[in-house]
């Protein structure tokens, strides 16, 4: 079988269920592939792994991929299994925040590493300064958890529909205690969890063929996961080597993830791409309109 390595953007969880399902259910094997899945983490820049030769394909979010490309990393989007964004801003109701008008004077926590960009451009659109000055908001960098929100170090915090939000709920708060602003609803969403490879790989016909088979099998995995939420969560759990994930949380996450992948057959939506690129540019993360940052070649081949 042909070897192929996939670098994830984050730790093993239902966010990447499609790939684990494809592997466990033998979809990759059917395509003659032997796929290795490398989990990510906060200190892994998948682009570096990809360029360093540690992986053939990676999962990344579009803004950070575009930024990397502009910095000279020749990476290209080859498929987009996620149709919608799961990012949102979650606030405690007790702070009296009901709509974006109430933001000024408050501290908004967000992850950095490029994840702050949509929030920055949103604040730009709303006309708020982000340096804590009068009439503006304070942006606070927070870690990948919701502790600062619970401990009231910030009034609002970035969460994913499928993960951090539920941690807030698990901590004992009810949906009624919270106010959420989905990026998707505010018109500032960017594309998440796409598949990327290097330009060099795309010049090699053999590799292109491998990638097409990979994307086909992966999408089959995704669709299977959408249909069989519980089984998919189970598979993810089995693949988690930290032994830290719980069944309850992963099943729920799979349910939410299914909502985001539902609209996609893997083909990148050009309009969504352009919108994401524009927002990324407004946020200042890239300076030029990206060119050649995506291709339909692979999905076209895969979906034949």
């Amino acid at each position: 079988a042909d070897d192929l390595t996939l670098q994830l953007k984050w730790v093993t969880q239902a966010q990447f269920a499609g790939y684990y399902v494809a592997k466990d259910k033998g979809f990759y094997e059917e395509e003659g592939l032997d796929v290795t899945i490398k989990p990510g983490g906060p200190d892994i820049a998948p682009v570096q792994v990809l360029l360093g030769g540690g992986a053939d394909v990676m999962v990344d979010w579009l803004p950070s991929a575009l930024a990397a490309r502009e910095k000279g990393a020749p990476i290209v989007n080859i498929a987009q299994p996620f149709a919608k964004s799961g990012l949102m801003l979650t606030c405690l109701k007790e702070h009296g925040i009901e709509s974006p008008e109430d933001f000024p004077g408050n501290t908004l926590g967000t992850w950095f590493f490029g994840n702050e960009i949509p929030l920055m451009s949103w604040m730009g659109k709303l006309g708020y300064a982000t340096d804590g000055s009068e009439g503006g908001v304070t942006i606070q960098k927070i870690n990948f958890n919701v502790d600062p929100l619970l401990q009231k170090q910030v009034e609002c915090a970035t969460t994913m529909t499928y993960n951090e939000y539920w941690q807030v709920i698990d901590a004992g708060l009810t949906p009624e205690d919270l106010v959420v602003f989905k990026y998707e609803d505010e018109g500032i969403s960017t594309l998440e969890d796409g598949l990327y490879t290097t330009e060099e790989n795309l010049e090699d016909p053999e590799m292109v063929d491998k990638l097409a088979r990979f994307v086909r099998a992966s999408m089959k995995g995704w669709k299977y996961a959408e249909e069989n939420v519980e089984e998919a969560a189970e598979i993810v759990l089995e693949n988690d080597q930290t032994g830290a994930q719980t069944e309850k949380h992963q099943t729920r996450m799979m349910g939410e993830i299914a909502k985001l992948t539902k609209g996609s057959d893997g083909r990148l939506d050009e309009a969504a791409f352009d919108r994401s690129a524009a927002i990324t540019m407004e946020g200042g993360m890239i300076t030029k309109e990206p060119e050649g940052a995506w291709t339909h070649d692979i999905t076209d081949k895969a979906l034949q």
């Binding site: 200190d43 930024a67 590493f113 960098k141």
Partner: protein, 279 residues
């Protein structure tokens, strides 16, 4: 290919210059020149390798690129330096080394503590920074205080172990002499055991300098205001602005070496009598 040859040539040149330098009469001039030559050699080799093998700058930027970035980002580097080194590392270093020193004295004074506190001290002080950092941020907030707290934990152990060992370093006859003077605990400590402990204490202090810096920087990965060297490094890695990352690392290296150098200088003054300082 030219660049690869350049790298090899630079390496050979640097090596021979340094061997020549080492043969010269020891002087302040040579001892300063030699690390610089070594460093320049390293940098030249790096430049040559990056260019020669055409390494993507997202993986490893060339020194020339880093230098350019350094020059244009002085303002950022300065505020980060103040936040991380002055506020975070230095205050934590002073508190941590001070606390370890005092506790080492207490352990030394009371055998009860020696048996009780030292094992527990080993235990507490080895708490891994990654585990501590989020907790400290939770307790002390995002500001430099939580960084200082981490640094305290980081420098505590080396200082403790070295001081405890150092306090046992005086030899039997020197202690007997103090006994004949009926010198009490404190006088013996002050006049004999502390001076005799200094070579060890300075080992702890020197190891602490670099630990303090690593600690302050890494702690910022786990929560910080939107400035600081650790913050800049982690966000820049995310943005693949590796040139800025390395510029910060250069600042860290300079600050750390200077910090260490100052401690080594003081050490030379204080422990001039120790054989290691006399050769």
């Amino acid at each position: 290919m030219i660049w690869v040859l350049f790298a090899i040539a630079a390496w050979l040149l640097g090596l021979s210059v340094n061997i020549w330098l080492a043969r010269q009469k020891p002087s302040g001039w040579a001892s300063l020149a030699s690390p610089i030559v070594f460093g320049l050699t390293l940098i030249a080799v790096w430049e040559g390798v990056v260019r020669g093998f055409d390494i993507n700058q997202v993986l490893l930027p060339a020194p020339s690129v880093i230098a350019a970035r350094f020059a244009t980002s002085l303002d950022i580097l300065w505020i980060d330096f103040v936040q991380t080194v002055i506020k975070g590392a230095l205050s934590g270093y002073i508190i941590g080394c001070g606390a370890a020193f005092v506790i080492a004295l207490a352990i030394d004074r009371f055998p009860f503590l020696q048996r009780g506190l030292l094992p527990v001290g080993n235990f507490v002080a080895a708490l891994p920074i990654i585990g501590m950092a989020p907790i400290m941020v939770m307790w002390f907030g995002f500001g430099w205080q939580s960084k200082a707290a981490i640094v305290v934990v980081m420098v505590f152990f080396p200082m403790l172990v070295n001081t405890v060992q150092g306090l046992q370093a005086s030899d039997a006859m020197q202690r007997d002499l103090m006994r004949t003077y009926a010198a009490g605990y404190w006088r013996t400590l002050l006049k004999l055991r502390l001076p005799a402990a200094m070579p060890f204490v300075f080992n702890g202090l020197k190891i602490g300098t670099t630990l303090a810096l690593i600690g302050a920087i890494v702690a910022e990965f786990f929560g910080s205001p939107v400035l600081g060297m650790g913050f800049r490094i982690s966000t820049s890695v995310g943005q693949l602005a590796l040139d800025l990352v390395w510029a910060e690392i250069v600042v860290a290296a300079i600050a750390g070496s200077a910090f260490y150098g100052i401690m080594a200088l003081i050490e030379g003054r204080v422990t001039f009598w120790h054989p290691s300082q006399r050769t």
